[in-house]
């Protein structure tokens, strides 16, 4: 029944490959025929079935050809390996190049409102990715409920603006603080858990937060969310589109334009993201950062050497959550409207995917992954319902073909004399 399960695949002849592709096509037919071939449609007297066997035929043919090509390719290559071309020294130049590009982006000719808006979106995910990278990439704790802290930050800002009249800059530290506290609250119960259990509990925590936001209508507005969240100001200058006294355009003698506010938002998130990056790099050199990485590699060894695992885990959760809270406050001010719909599990999965695709621990990798993922989503915006389908396929495909992500190579934090990269194939997680 199983398509010839030899691993590594060594097909003596084309016939064997054909046979295997045929079996794969048969399995594909079995899967596709009922689900794709018979669509349930709401008719007048209840549900009816509408056959669509043309799509099944296309799918089965696709699987057959794809499987055959895969075999032919593997036959030549031996195994699936995607090795990005290596240019010595290029790695060091890519990061600063990206940073410079990000700095000047709003002023590049031809870059309009849409591009800057997209830049804001990408940078938000870069910041979330870098924040989660501390928890997942450095400390090795898989957090599937990261979006909960993002939500805590966003709601903290929205509520403090509503009830206390706070602006973004007053609320930002508060959002970070509240999210950090939420991180510690989550951290305490899950201290003893590892790997998969930890992942599921964080997921449950994220769902609990979302359900509470959805049902605590008197405070959070329930499914309707909170609107009218104030926009950010620059030292008291507002960015109202009409201009007028006290506005940014009036103060600097410019023509009032909506783009000013967007560019301002862009620089806020850029500064927040770069600050996150700077913080991560600094933390990695501090004892706590080293403790995180040591814990990721081998928790038992750390405990034996007298490392305080409780504090190490809690700081990772708290700092990661604080960063998500800051990003959440920014999200709230950018949208001026938040509802629980923005904080679903899919968001968490997306951020985890960005971190994993980026190579778990690599700052540059995470930034590139965020650019690729969010940019890709934007490119395929028209294929609305197929977007998530492709996202799932990409996630599986990346894990299967390149489980260490785009930048799998690791640089050791502490070295004797010479700094040498550790190849992705040699990097492995201890406890997970």
């Amino acid at each position: 029944m199983a398509p010839a399960a030899a691993r590594p695949p060594a097909f003596a002849s084309l016939a064997a490959a054909l046979k295997d592709a045929g079996l794969a096509a048969l399995v594909a037919f079995g899967c596709a025929a009922p689900m794709m071939g018979l669509r349930t449609v709401q008719g007048q007297g209840g549900l009816t079935l509408v056959p669509r066997f043309d799509t099944v035929a296309i799918a089965v043919a696709g699987v057959f050809v794809g499987r055959l090509l895969l075999h032919l390719w593997q036959h030549r290559r031996g195994a699936i390996r995607f090795n990005l071309p290596r240019v010595p020294g290029a790695g060091r130049a890519v990061g600063p190049a990206f940073a410079v590009l990000a700095l000047v982006l709003p002023f590049i000719p031809g870059v309009g409102r849409y591009e800057v808006d997209l830049g804001i979106l990408v940078l938000t995910y870069v910041m979330l990715g870098w924040g989660l990278n501390i928890v997942v990439g450095l400390a090795g704790l898989l957090d599937l409920g990261y979006v909960a802290f993002y939500a805590v930050g966003a709601y903290t800002y929205a509520l403090s603006a509503q009830h206390l009249g706070f602006g973004l800059w007053q609320a930002l530290p508060l959002s970070g603080l509240m999210a950090g506290i939420a991180g510690i609250l989550l951290g305490f119960p899950v201290l003893r858990l590892r790997g998969d259990y930890l992942a599921i509990v964080t997921l449950a925590f994220g769902e609990i937060i979302r359900i509470v936001l959805l049902n605590w209508t008197s405070v959070t507005g329930g499914p309707n969310g909170l609107s009218g969240i104030p926009r950010p100001t620059l030292f008291g200058l507002n960015f109202s589109a009409g201009g007028g006294p006290g506005s940014f355009a009036d103060f600097f003698g410019l023509e009032p334009a909506a783009i000013h506010r967007i560019i301002y938002l862009y620089y806020i998130i850029l500064v927040l993201a770069l600050a996150t990056n700077w913080l991560t790099i600094r933390l990695r050199r501090m004892p706590v950062g080293r403790a995180w990485e040591a814990m990721r590699e081998d928790e038992i060894a750390c405990r034996s050497l007298g490392l305080n695992i409780t504090m190490t885990k809690l700081t990772a959760f708290a700092i990661g959550a604080t960063l998500a809270g800051l990003a959440g406050a920014f999200f709230a001010t950018r949208q001026a409207f938040i509802s629980p719909e923005s904080f679903t599990f899919i968001e968490s999965a997306l951020i985890v995917a960005i971190v994993v695709l980026g190579g778990l621990g690599s700052q540059l990798g995470v930034a590139i992954a965020a650019l690729v993922m969010i940019g890709g989503f934007e490119v395929f915006r028209d294929l609305d319902e197929f977007r998530m389908l492709v996202f799932g396929v990409v996630m599986v495909g990346i894990m299967v073909s390149r489980p260490r992500g785009l930048v799998g190579e690791r640089m050791p934090t502490v070295v004797l004399r010479e700094r040498k990269g550790i190849d992705a194939a040699l990097v492995k997680e201890g406890a997970g």
């Binding site: 009816t48 599921i200 985890v352």
Partner: protein, 304 residues
């Protein structure tokens, strides 16, 4: 009192469904130590396959209810088994021996894929059906409230028990069951002794998926409405059940399923319907906190 009795019956029925899904989690966790995150979606695929088979048989004119139900069940189990098998082949087998989080992330991708695949092919709207079996036994009646054990609930409980008996016999008596237990204890040793571990693992997924299809079939009959997103929450709850019962333990999975079903039903009946998922998730957190090895599980020994 009658109200509580009714909740007990409802909780028992729901618990049976969770228990069947939980077995899939616990088996896979026992044998390869990973959480098959897509298992909840296999349950959803099972429910959709049942729906399609039911409608198909209706169009073919097979309206004799017992025969139709048996056929639907067999078809749904076969389709879900195929999905389970394919799932393992594509997303998990290539990652065996990779770092520990890799299969979990791949499973999340698979879960997202399956949900959206069904959404694209079958549409996003919930699918309602007419009740297939009506009526029931009156258990008790007082103050105008009737506690009823419906035929449907009897059917669900009996089908679950039958599936459990068959499944237990497979694990306890057949060569396949022996191979599965051997792989669970020590996969490398089992393969040294001539057990085809890849095949055993694939069959574990197949069995888990067909049990999930039984659960999906009964969910469809019991609630009469399904949608593409149902697998996510149901999957987490079934996983909670598996953890509560002690992961790796088969009777534990069923026991945990029953408890989660009861907790959810009683919580909805006496406290609030909106927070019923919070109740189940909180149980998960509390169990892992105070009783990480569950009710019937073994303590996990940490090896260095």
């Amino acid at each position: 009192m009658e109200y509580a009795l009714q909740q007990l019956v409802n909780g028992l029925t729901l618990g049976m469904i969770y228990g069947l899904v939980a077995i899939g989690y616990t088996m896979v966790y026992g044998i390869i130590g990973m959480i098959n995150f897509a298992h909840g979606d296999i349950f959803m695929v099972g429910a959709f396959s049942s729906l399609i088979a039911l409608l198909g048989l209706g169009m073919l004119g097979i309206t004799f209810v017992p025969l139709a139900l048996v056929l639907v069940l067999v078809i749904a189990m076969a389709i879900a088994a195929l999905y389970g098998f394919t799932n393992e082949r594509i997303a998990y087998r290539p990652l065996r021996g990779s770092f520990r989080l890799a299969p979990l992330i791949s499973a999340i991708g698979m879960s997202i894929f399956l949900q959206n695949f069904v959404q694209v092919t079958q549409g996003a709207r919930p699918k309602p059906i007419e009740p297939v079996i009506r009526g029931g036994l009156l258990l008790a009646s007082a103050n105008g409230f009737n506690a009823v054990l419906s035929w449907m609930q009897i059917l669900i409980i009996c089908t679950t028990l039958l599936a459990l008996v068959v499944f237990t016999l497979i694990v306890a008596r057949t060569p396949l069951g022996r191979a599965m237990r051997a792989c669970e204890q020590d996969r490398r040793m089992a393969s040294l002794l001539g057990i085809d571990t890849d095949r055993t693992i694939a069959l574990t997924f197949v069995i888990g998926a067909s049990l999930a299809a039984v659960a999906g079939f009964m969910y469809l009959l019991y609630y009469g409405v399904i949608d593409f997103y149902m697998g996510f929450v149901a999957g987490i709850k079934a996983f909670t059940a598996a953890v509560l019962g002690g992961i790796g333990s088969l009777p534990g999975a069923v026991l945990g399923g029953l408890l989660i079903g009861m907790i959810e039903t009683f919580w909805s009946a006496y406290f609030s319907v909106q927070y019923k998922d919070v109740a189940a998730f909180s149980v998960l957190i509390l169990v892992l906190l105070f009783m990480p090895s569950g009710l019937l599980g073994r303590d996990e020994v940490e090896k260095v």
